[in-house]
């Protein structure tokens, strides 16, 4: 069994609290930010920092209790670090290929050049780029 009275458990609880705070901040940013390209920024980065902190807390608890389960926590950290940014990148590429508009407050243009604009009907083709001025995404 796991006792909560050691200093290691206190350190683990503080790490878990910091991780869930990052998660909450990411969720607030996910609700409040204006368009998709800024909105995907908040929860994915918060998840890539929050989940490893919580898994690190679980690893501390498991190491303190003498379980062998700490390697699964290490696998969670490794997997979220490797595959979380990959999923974000794939989603942003897909959004650029589907011509999801960015906010009208965005300065400059995207670094991507979409090779095919699928669901757009002959918008204004000025020199602003494919993510030019649009009221709503």
């Amino acid at each position: 069994m796991n006792d909560l009275s050691t200093p290691l458990a206190l350190v683990a609880a503080i790490a878990a609290l910091v991780g869930s705070f990052f998660f909450l901040a990411g969720a607030i940013g996910f609700v409040r930010l204006p368009d998709f390209y800024t909105r995907i920024h908040a929860p994915t980065k918060a998840a890539s920092l929050g989940i490893p902190l919580m898994a690190f807390a679980s690893m501390l608890v498991h190491l303190g209790a003498g379980f062998d389960m700490w390697i699964e926590d290490a696998l969670i950290i490794l997997f979220v670090f490797l595959a979380g940014p990959v999923s974000t990148q794939v989603l942003v590429w897909a959004a650029v290929a589907r011509n999801i508009r960015s906010s009208s407050e965005t300065v400059g243009q995207s670094v991507f050049r979409p090779i095919e604009l699928v669901d757009v009907e002959e918008g204004p083709t000025d020199d602003v780029g494919p993510h030019g001025t649009s009221a709503e995404s």
Binding site: L10, L17, L24, M54, F67, E72, A83, V118, S137
Partner: protein, 93 residues
């Protein structure tokens, strides 16, 4: 100290539940399908964190397997959904 650690874990779980409610609001509101996909992934990862905290606070090793499997399916499913939504055509090539 045990009561303090229990209160810390309960506060962490409460913050994760508030985060899940906010992401559900975005999931119901989201203007594009990509917002809903991101909300799907983030809810999966929030449930992973909740399982880890629950496993820490109570039993110790009950939910860690489930957390690992859920993290794997959540992120891999998001990669497949993004590949499907982009129709295999990515602008980097």
């Amino acid at each position: 100290m045990e009561a303090a650690v229990g209160i810390l874990y309960q506060a962490s779980q409460l913050m994760l539940l508030v985060a899940i409610v906010l992401i559900l609001y975005r999931l119901s509101l989201g203007p594009s399908i990509f917002d809903r996909v991101v909300a799907f992934e983030t809810i999966g990862l929030a449930v992973v964190g909740y399982l880890l905290l629950e496993s820490n606070a109570t039993v110790g090793r009950l939910y860690t397997d489930a957390a690992l499997g859920l993290a794997l399916f959540s992120v891999a499913g998001t990669i497949f959904l993004g590949y499907f939504l982009g129709r295999g055509e990515f602008p980097d090539e």
